[in-house]
């Protein structure tokens, strides 16, 4: 049956348009996918890929345009409609109920009557073995790792018998090995006759998994190409709209560099009492970029927050040029003239005050140095205006709430504010996440500039290709331990990937992960 469906179109979109307030997210977009085919939807961040797919899954409704599913024109008004049409979507931010078990999540919202747990488990088991998935049906979601959660999401879609599968950036949080496993599952689904759309901006993955590529740029469709006829360079050109070099600059570091920060035997606990960092040792040298790789939640956050004095340190020492930072308060560190800048992962929720303008956000870093009880906004205003000019930040005014700015500009405000403080140490967590290629390169340039000035830069990243090309060394974290520090100029992606899962790690890693309660 799968055979006869091949070559018929699963999805045909024509002239899709969607606006949010005054922002046009999609305009005149066309897209089609056949059964038994994997289509990669490629585009920069902000090019409208997710919006388009959300219209197929019933989350959004298009302002204009037609959608055909299996040859028939349909109006998808809700996720229920989408499920009824056999469309299943795996969102980038998983749509799972944390306090429920895997199986409760899998049957959630299905039309059938509640069936006995035993039968349900058997059914899940059957699907799992068919596609090579592994999951414990009774495990609660909040006890699961990211890749386990993704498995549950996939099962959820398969359980509903979906024949059209949409995956939004599924590999962003996976190791190279986990990615391979996911691709194997997708290929198997394709053989079964499913139509698959995978949203991504990683070119190598596009080439590895897809049959055809649909490219979006600034909310409009640029065209479709067969994967076998294209290479990374051409894809980038199509995606960005002009030729770009994919090379990231890597200036040589100073030969006689001394350590800016020395970390010895660092142990940090998470708020819930589980270990966040265990026996971490490393040096961060002046004038280098030290990349930090690891599966999400392996201790990256704890590491940054430990160095900046934002979290309590259970044991160990952090020495900055002879001075012990552990035990010092935030204020002490500042008053010693140690300037540690930190660009956190959550830009609007942690790095910036989303409801305030640039002036008040610059103030955040400086008001404590001001005298008296009143606030002086004059100096920050000048600094904000300077940042706008030098970094080309697009904002209606320096008082416009930063949440209204685009992702790239938000990051420029944050990074700009941290750099303007002339740091000795610059910690950045996922600084290019969600940015388009242009903005990403601006960020790389800014980081390299700091490196050349002699600043010790720590770069937490998720894209191994980027880490490999910009860092001097890469520190790999696994379950809160350092599983290796490698020379970025010599190592390979596979080696780093294995270190991320702790395969070459120093210790057995099984217990402390997430097997908590049942």
């Amino acid at each position: 049956m799968a055979q006869e469906k091949k070559d018929t179109y699963a999805i045909e979109c024509k002239g899709i348009r969607k606006t949010f307030g005054s922002v046009v997210a999609n305009n005149n977009v066309d897209l089609d996918v056949k059964y038994g085919e994997i289509l990669a939807l490629l585009g920069e961040n902000g090019s409208g890929k997710t919006t388009l797919m959300n219209m197929l899954s019933g989350i959004y409704h298009p302002d204009a345009g037609t959608i055909r599913i299996g040859g028939q024109e349909v109006s998808i008004n809700s996720p229920t409609d989408a499920i009824g049409l056999g469309i299943g979507m795996i969102h980038q931010h998983f749509k799972l109920v944390d306090v429920h078990s895997a199986m409760d999540n899998i049957v959630l919202g299905t039309k059938e009557k509640r069936i006995r747990p035993k039968e349900l488990k058997a059914k899940i088991e059957e699907i799992s073995s068919k596609f090579g998935l592994e999951v414990d049906p009774e495990k609660k979601i909040y006890n699961m790792s990211v890749s386990e959660k993704q498995t549950v999401e996939i099962l959820k879609v398969l359980y509903r018998g979906a024949s059209i599968l949409i995956l939004d950036e599924p590999t962003a949080v996976l190791t190279p090995q986990e990615t391979e496993k996911l691709f194997a599952i997708l290929r198997r689904m394709k053989e079964q006759g499913c139509a698959i759309v995978i949203i991504t901006h990683k070119l190598n993955e596009v080439l590895a998994i897809s049959d055809r590529v649909e490219i979006l740029r600034k909310g409009e469709s640029i065209g479709t190409v067969d994967t076998k006829d294209i290479d990374e360079k051409k894809l980038t050109e199509l995606m960005v709209g002009r030729p770009v070099t994919l090379e990231i600059d890597r200036p040589e570091r100073k030969a006689d560099a001394v350590p800016e920060i020395v970390i010895r035997n660092l142990n940090v606990e998470r708020p819930d009492g589980t270990p966040g960092l265990t026996n971490v040792n490393f040096e961060l040298m002046e004038g280098e970029i030290l990349g930090v790789a690891g599966i999400a939640g392996s201790g990256q956050k704890e590491l940054c927050e430990a160095i900046t004095g934002l979290t309590e340190i259970k044991e160990g020492s952090i020495v900055h040029r002879e001075e012990e930072l552990v035990g010092m308060t935030f204020k002490d560190i500042r008053s010693r003239g140690i300037r540690i800048s930190f660009v956190p992962e959550d830009r609007l929720g942690m790095g910036l005050v989303a409801s305030m303008g640039m002036v008040d956000n610059v103030l955040l870093k400086h008001y404590q140095d001001q005298q008296g009880i009143f606030i002086d906004r004059k100096t920050p205003r000048k600094m904000a205006e300077k940042m706008v000019k030098e970094l080309g930040i697009l904002t209606p005014s320096v008082d416009t709430p930063v949440r209204m700015l685009s992702g790239g500009n938000v990051q420029k405000v944050l990074l700009g504010r941290e750099i303007i403080a002339e740091p000795n140490v610059l910690l950045t967590a996922y600084p290019v996440r969600g940015l388009d290629i242009n903005s990403s390169y601006t960020v790389y340039d800014l980081l390299n500039e700091q490196k050349k000035k002699g600043v010790a830069v720590l770069l937490v990243g998720e894209d191994l290709d980027v880490l490999l090309s910009i860092s001097d060394r890469i520190l790999v974290l696994c379950h809160g331990e350092v599983s290796g520090i490698v020379d970025a100029r010599k190592t390979t992606k596979e080696e780093v990937g294995l270190l991320m899962t702790g395969v070459k790690g120093t210790k057995e890693e099984k217990e402390e992960s997430t097997d908590g309660s049942k």
């Binding site: 028939q72 998808i76 934002l310 005050v353 955040l364």
Partner: protein
């Protein structure tokens, strides 16, 4: 699995986020909602057999018809204004202090102790001491939920709610026991304050109005131009950002809630010693709840709070006149208030969203 017509019918209306409205349009929209509310209130009045125009007119004239009426309106406004300022401090920090009622009571209780038992000292000194202790009483009562929130992240909405009833029963206890007026036969009550412990009148109204206006200015400046006020806004936006900036969030929370409770406590003192001349169980009398609504309607802006609390006071004073002249139950004021608020609440939707007809006909 062929694609059958499994999709539901497209709904007649769907909700869509709209581009941010300009300030002017927002104001027009809000004004329109109030008009609509008055219209709905008018229908309610018609149903119960009153001419809405006469009623509205009487309410307004009832609040302003004489010097005494204006003074009475202001007297209603004083505790409402002060406690609205109090909850605003907490709300700015996104700390849902529903406990103004209890903090008002505690402030009043602390002040009353001096009014009843330490009232031999000079008048001004006595009032100053009462003021200080109302600040302490209200402040400490505000500190309790803040402490638990800071320490264990205890839900403050429900916790402060409980404290209201605890405070109320403390008055009942004092009234029936230790502070019972020995001179009263019949129902237990607390004695009337000695003249020495009563707040003076200025321009015919108790001096609380001066305190209220001063507090308005202070709160405005504090929130807008001081470092602490800035810190409150940062914490209100995101605890993570505040921590990132090195703001001691827990200490801030304690400090701000002390201030929030303290201001509410002042409202209690002013009500007891300026208007009631005794400590009654009704010293807060729902003002603490209304204050939350006032603060919300005024978007936490102290200047707007003055206006909104004034409007609320007009409604309340005016409807008491309605009762005396037309026999319209004073409860109708609550009903009217409710109706108006429902409309204003509903209208906020249109500031951020709009409805779009089927097939995007009304789009754009």
């Amino acid at each position: 699995m062929e694609a059958s017509k499994k999709t539901g019918r497209e709904p007649l209306l769907r909700t869509v986020k709209r581009a941010e409205l300009s300030r002017k349009k927002t104001m027009i929209l809000r004004a329109a909602s109030v008009l609509l509310a008055l219209l709905a209130g008018g229908i309610f009045l018609l149903i119960i057999g009153f001419n809405p125009f006469t009623v509205y007119q009487t309410i307004i004239s009832g609040a302003f018809r004489s010097e005494m009426a204006v003074q009475a309106t202001i007297r209603i406004m004083i505790p409402l204004l002060i406690s609205s300022l109090g909850v605003t401090m907490a709300f700015k920090m996104r700390f849902w202090n529903i406990g103004a009622e209890g903090q008002i009571i505690m402030g009043a209780i602390f002040a009353t102790y001096f009014a009843l038992y330490q009232n031999a000292m000079p008048h001004v000194l006595l009032l100053i001491i009462m003021f200080i202790f109302s600040v302490i009483g209200g402040g400490l009562f505000g500190l309790i939920p803040a402490f638990f929130k800071a320490k264990f992240n205890t839900n403050e909405t429900l916790f402060t709610l409980m404290l209201n009833y605890i405070a109320l029963n403390v008055i009942v206890y004092l009234r029936d026991g230790p502070w019972k007026d020995p001179a009263s036969s019949g129902f237990p009550k607390i004695a009337r304050f000695d003249l020495n412990a009563q707040l003076d009148s200025v321009l015919g109204v108790q001096a609380g109005w001066i305190i209220a206006l001063l507090l308005t200015a202070i709160v405005y400046i504090y929130l807008k131009y001081t470092k602490q006020g800035y810190e409150i806004s940062v914490v209100g936006d995101s605890h993570a950002t505040a921590k990132y900036a090195g703001i001691p969030v827990k200490r801030m929370m304690l400090r701000t809630m002390f201030l929030s409770g303290a201001i509410c406590g002042i409202a209690g003192m002013v009500q007891a010693t300026g208007s009631d001349m005794t400590l009654a169980t009704s010293v807060a009398g729902g003002v603490g709840f209304t204050a939350i609504i006032v603060a919300w309607l005024a978007r936490l802006n102290p200047a707007a709070i003055v206006i909104v609390s004034f409007l609320f006071s007009i409604l309340e004073k005016g409807s008491s006149v309605m009762q005396s002249t037309y026999g319209l139950s004073s409860y109708s004021a609550d009903v009217l208030q409710g109706i108006i608020l429902f409309f204003v609440l509903g209208c906020e939707f249109f500031v951020r969203y709009k409805f779009v007809g089927r097939k995007g006909g009304a789009g754009k």
